[in-house]
Amino acid sequence: MTIEIKDVCKSYDGKAVLSCVNLNIEDEHTYVITGPSGCGKTTLLRLILGLESPDSGTVRLLGDYKYPYINSGTVFQEDRLCDDFDAVTNVCMVSRKVYRETVTEELLRLLPGSELHKPVKELSGGQRRRVAIVRACAIPSDILIMDEPFTGLDDESRKKAIGYIREKQGSGPLVITTHDTRDLEFGRIIKL
């Protein structure tokens, strides 16, 4: 699968956020998109996800793809978890193709067992972030798209999370936006 981003421009209220961006996202590759705040990292991800349309240019899914939108395991800039439900439920709720036992095992790789059955509103920012990462990785998807996935994670948790994500990437592409490219040198760094 290839996502072709061609001459994409996007502006909000007359202010250009993306100007003529070109990029091909291909299987098995990792793309680390970096740049200062407001440079359009999140906007680019939203365009790839089909949540927004470019002002000009195109974002196309090349090849034989059966859905109009890409099937993505996504970490949003915010955690976007259901506060009153626990971590296991938050991961299980998004897909019928995952089971509580498997999800529990996945979560245990990044979180202590004592935190799995608390409502996520009682977890710390870093723990919630890790739940969001597992949610993105646990469901079957064609691509992983992660917007600042390591916010609130200490160095050790960050390394663990990177290892986990790489393992879960499989044969699909991985797109990460971040301010901090440490430990992500295995991917292609793209500065916006």
């Binding site: 949540l51 939108y69 949003f76 915010e78 259901c82 709720m93 998004v94 469901i139």
Partner: protein, 241 residues
């Protein structure tokens, strides 16, 4: 415990005020006292018509409540999905909110007769309450969570359960509590005007005709009690959602 005792004391104080006032007025037609009311209630409870009226009115009102609630929630979902439908419904909802119940009752009596008047009126009173509250709840649903659901292709029933329902429950709680009280008020009023046989409304009307103020109060207490029990059952169910 202290709170319950305080409330009980307040109720007893008002019953005493009522009894003293009745003694001062000393006219059972103008004001029956609590003892006369209890006597009337005991007398009524021994007649088979009383229980038939209680069951018939309660059932009719609860059916109207359920119909109005279901319709209000269903149409709110459709209006939330399509803004044009919401605009289309606006005049009808505004009319249902502002037109006096009595006007509808008379119109419905002409159209359908007195048979199911309380059911229809209840549904008409409950509908805008549930519709407007559900619509407000749906409009307040977190757009970012809906976007998350879209990206993950979350199954519809899970979206309803995990995203919409937690948002709607506080609105439902307020709306249902208000609606159940309004149901009994409007349903009984409709029965008093329409006078279908073997109903509480008809009992109230006959009490007025025969100037049986004790019976009038007794019927009123019965209505208050039924509404109170229904509200408590509803609160119990809502608390478990």
């Amino acid at each position: 415990m202290k709170k319950i005792a305080g409330r009980a004391a307040a109720v007893i104080a008002w019953i005493l005020i009522w009894q003293v006032t009745a003694l001062i007025v000393h006219n059972q037609i103008l004001l029956a006292g609590p003892l006369d009311t209890v006597k009337a209630l005991r007398y009524l409870a021994k007649t088979p018509d009383f229980w038939q009226s209680v069951v018939s009115t309660t059932l009719r009102i609860l059916i109207g409540f359920a119909l109005g609630s279901a319709l209000g929630i269903a149409l709110a979902c459709l209006a939330y999905k399509d803004r044009r439908f919401e605009i289309f419904l606006q005049p009808m909802v505004a009319a249902l909110k502002s037109v006096p119940v009595a006007s509808f009752v008379i119109l419905l009596l002409i159209w359908f007769g007195p048979g199911n008047i309380s059911t229809i009126i209840c549904a008409m009173v409950v509908f805008p309450i549930l519709y407007l509250n559900s619509l407000e709840g749906l409009a307040g649903t977190d757009k970012k969570m809906l976007e998350m659901a879209k990206v993950f292709r979350m199954p519809t029933e899970r979206k309803l359960f995990y995203i919409y329902l937690p948002q709607l429950v506080p609105f439902f709680k307020g709306a249902f509590k208000l609606a159940i009280g309004m149901s009994f008020k409007s349903g009984i009023a409709a029965e008093v005007i329409g006078q279908p046989l073997h109903t509480i409304g008809n009992g109230l009307y006959l009490s007025k005709i025969y100037l049986e103020t004790g019976e009038l109060f007794a019927w009123t207490i019965v209505v208050v009690l039924i509404a109170f029990i229904c509200e408590k059952i509803l609160s119990f169910i809502l608390a478990r959602i």
